[in-house]
Symmetry: C2
DNA sequence: GTAACGATGTATCGGGCCGATACATCGGGG
DNA sequence: CCCCGATGTATCGGCCCGATACATCGTTAC
């Protein structure tokens, strides 16, 4: 999961750890908080011994006047290998149930432009199915067990229901767009910062438009 | 984090592991997927050795004719101790930065009815602040780095921005409600899914455009 | 009758990932 | 001059997950 993300970034350009972490944070910011060094460095070593990446020793200029006072630990630049690129494609095209989990889906999505439309559709539909199940779970709890639950717990369920419902609709849009042939998502470079989302609550009878965040993460 | 959730559930009634897991899944379903046994049982043992919970052996059958072929492993019912209840209150009232993280916030929220209004407000405001920061992060990326990013990555950012914005508004409502004195969240339990109640969604005045990220009403 | 299956139930193991921490360099501001 | 924040690499303890194993019970299917 981290493997995929790291290989994906190094596929674009060589980088050292610190930079890698920063880019991961922005690229996957909507998915996971900020990957820890306690994960990053061990993963880098793992990828390295597996042969997917190598150190591209960024020799600090030719000025060998580096004061040998301390070991002068220079920054280590990693680059992806040919095998690594293959591995990346393999991981990316993996459409097993793991790819529909919150985090894994996000990582796959972040590199969508590197896979075929049909695989994209497979993943989007699998994810949609999963979120739909989640949504139905919330609905059942709200219908069947409403009176047995705490008021705050209920509010949490509504929150979750609304978030799931929104994600399903988001996925529907993306799926429709993929099918239409336009490769990149819609909503070009217009003014973002759009006011309250104009996507009004359509039908969905008992939904009661509630605010609902909590995309994934955790 | 699991500690808090488990203590909270056992505070309501004694339970065995399997049941605990089920209840956790529904109660925290909007927060985390479904806690694993690989977390649950070790945690139970930890809580037990710490003295927060005890085994309430549920041995219903005194008939010692239990075939010693296998150890006849009966189900183990756990109950909370007095110290456990204290510990629960301590954990619940913890308003440090950890309590604003996704998962931790959700667990706290799920047991909101057990803490004072002022602590509830402190947690809600802390959470709001955190999500606002998150939201601003997305906005900056979308404004400043839009052209340097992949179309799918951008869509992910918009998704995240929208979700964060929604959560902020959700929190605003909850905060306003807490301040108004009505203890439980709005949206009374029964009017929800049963009848096709045409109750229009309250209109949430004009807090959309410029959400001041700094209105610490402390 | 019994075999298969799914729900209930307890438990462990390897591994991924996080938070805290340590160490080291460098530029700038008080 | 010293502290601070950004840049940078790295480890350690610990939480938590997914996979797996084992055992019982009721129902359904052959």
């Amino acid at each position: 999961m981290l493997d995929l993300a790291i290989l994906g970034l190094l596929h674009e350009s060589p980088m050292h750890g610190y930079e890698l972490r920063k880019q991961l944070s922005t690229k996957l910011g909507a998915i996971r908080a900020a990957i820890s060094y306690g994960s990053l460095y061990p993963t880098l070593r793992r990828l390295q011994t597996a042969g997917w990446i190598t150190e591209a020793g960024e020799t600090p200029a030719d000025d060998a006047d580096v004061p040998p006072l301390t070991s002068r630990r220079g920054r280590v630049v990693y680059k992806i290998t040919a095998e690594g690129k293959e591995r990346f494609q393999d991981l990316l095209a993996q459409v097993g149930p793991e790819a529909y989990e919150d985090a894994a889906f996000g990582v796959h999505f972040a590199f969508f432009s590197r896979i075929d439309v049909d695989i994209r559709l497979r993943i989007l539909e699998g994810r949609r199915r999963k979120v739909e199940e989640r949504r139905e779970g919330f609905r059942e709890v709200l219908q069947r067990a409403a009176e047995r639950l705490d008021a705050y717990t209920l509010e949490l369920q509504r929150h979750g229901l609304d978030a799931a419902d929104r994600e399903v609709r988001w996925l529907e849009e993306l799926i429709a767009n993929e099918r239409s042939g336009r490769t990149p998502p819609p909503r070009g470079a217009e003014g973002e910062l759009r006011p309250p989302s104009p996507r009004a609550t359509d039908s969905t009878p008992p939904l009661t438009a509630r605010p609902g965040p909590d995309d994934s993460a955790e």
